[in-house]
């Protein structure tokens, strides 16, 4: 399945962890302002694939990446690319929330500050706006100076989402962002994704098929480092074409 103007286009991507060939000939188009989910069993490579989008593998030097990842048509693995500029375009939500070791306020202001925003009033305004965007403002407005680690884990994950939004990304990458959360917090995050897809392209790694179905428009099944099938979510989950996909969504494969 291809799109005319995908937000991210992956072309013949191969990734090696030392001798381990972790991603094999991946080609996929991630559509603009839609939610695309990657499903598949643990260790299939879905998170690895996600991390190639913002070059988070750069810090682990045993990793070798071949092929292209085009962001709005530009290869992010080309020579001389400003990695920080690419990462700024993508907000990452990890499996467990990792608030930075500072106050709630400073967590949100962190991104704008490192990109040069110094105006106190503007920062105040940004913090309020993004905390409202993730429905956290009412819960924390009286303790913005408190350490972010004092929030509940569900609140922390929403804080991390707000922190990511504060650098005005175009894309949100979610790496099983609800796997550490209780059902209520999970529901809040899922609702946020549905609202946010009007403004952002969202890529979601999940191992919960129902979550993929609730949230995503398109779904890719990843298995043993390969994309087995990529289709609109309903079609992939209810009427898969490939046998492997069929086995997985019916629970025979894990």
């Amino acid at each position: 399945m291809t799109f005319e103007t995908p937000h991210i286009r992956v072309q013949d991507l191969n990734l090696y962890y030392g001798a381990n060939h972790a991603l094999k000939n991946i080609s996929i188009d991630i559509p603009d302002k839609k939610v695309t989910s990657f499903i598949g069993p643990s260790g299939c490579g879905k998170t690895t694939l996600l991390k190639t989008f913002n070059r988070l593998h750069d810090s682990s030097l045993e990793v070798k990446v071949e092929g292209k990842v085009l962001l709005d048509g530009e290869d992010i693995y080309a020579k001389g690319v400003d990695v920080t500029a690419i990462r700024k375009k993508m907000g990452l939500l990890s499996q467990r929330p990792f608030p930075l070791p500072m106050s709630i306020y400073d967590n949100i202001a962190y991104g704008p500050r490192i990109h040069g925003e110094r105006d106190r009033h503007k920062l105040d305004h940004l913090v309020e706006q993004y905390l409202k965007d993730v429905a956290l403002w009412d819960e924390v407005k009286d303790r913005l100076k408190a350490p972010a680690s004092r929030l509940s884990i569900g609140q922390q994950q929403r804080l991390c989402l707000a922190r990511g939004l504060a650098v005005e990304p175009e894309i949100i990458l979610g790496d099983e962002p609800t796997s550490a959360l209780d059902p209520v917090s999970t529901q809040k995050i899922e609702e946020l994704f549905l609202q946010l897809k009007e403004k952002y392209t969202i890529v979601l790694v999940t191992h919960i098929l129902r979550q993929a179905r609730r949230v995503s428009d398109y779904c890719a099944f990843v298995y043993m480092g390969e994309i087995v099938e990529f289709a609109p979510t309903e079609q992939l989950l209810l009427d898969p074409k490939e046998k492997l996909t069929k086995d997985y969504v019916r629970g025979f494969l894990s």
Binding site: F98, L100, P101
Partner: protein
Amino acid sequence: MNIRILKDKIAGRTMLVLTLVSILLAVLVAWGLFYRSLPLLENYSLTDLLTSSAWKPEKGEFGFLGFIMGTLWVTAIAIILALPLCLLVSIYLSEYAHPRLRKLIVPVVDLLSGIPPVLFGVWGVLFIIPLIQDHIAPSFVDNSAGYSVLAGGIVLAIMIFPLLITLFLEVFSTVPRDMLNASLSLGATPWQTVKKVLLKKAMPGMIASTVLAISRAFGETIAVLMVCGGNVPGIPHSVFDSGYPLPVLIANNFGETFSVPLYDSALLFAALLLFVIIFIFNAVSRIILARVKRKIE
């Protein structure tokens, strides 16, 4: 009673006793030093002992200020030199260096910490002393033999290098990689991430590591003895003056001059002073550590 529950109880009690014994040892050492210092303390006021720098045991003059200052100077120089360098080396190894390079360097650093202090002393005499005498000192003072608190500080700094680097690396490795990734994925550069996240998160551990290194520096004797030129007691007035730290005082004189009245008591008082300095230093840094921890958590 069930045998495995009995075993558990015995193990628990035994470990409790051993723990108490190890604490008791520290108390015993302090008490022993205090007891043996009593003859000196009965004859002199504590203020005089601590504020005078006149040291003529045969005339009955015991002023410890020179030795205290010697200890503080040497330790301060060592830590001022070692801390920034070790910090940068550790950050490089932890965040920037290629894993292969890291695997090569870390064992070498560990090896350094296994070198006996006397070798550092010899090395100091052969390299640091001439370096100070011929190249560094002439630009600042007219006349220096090289044997100085600066030499002591440099040698001591190099001795605590491996300890500090190993501890810093250990502390850095406890900062979750995903927390650093969170900062990077917001578009922060690695250096911004180091400054604002890594160092902040690692601060309590770094303070604890530094305290450990300083405590070790306070007590280091042999290498310092060889390069500090401590034969004439007195307060050092510049880094090029010779110094006479407390451990050196004890090591140089213990067991030799006990015919002089109160001399042995004075040396044990020196040991007690060292003990108290390290104790106070540790206590203060624990308070600071608790504050820092509360602040970032």
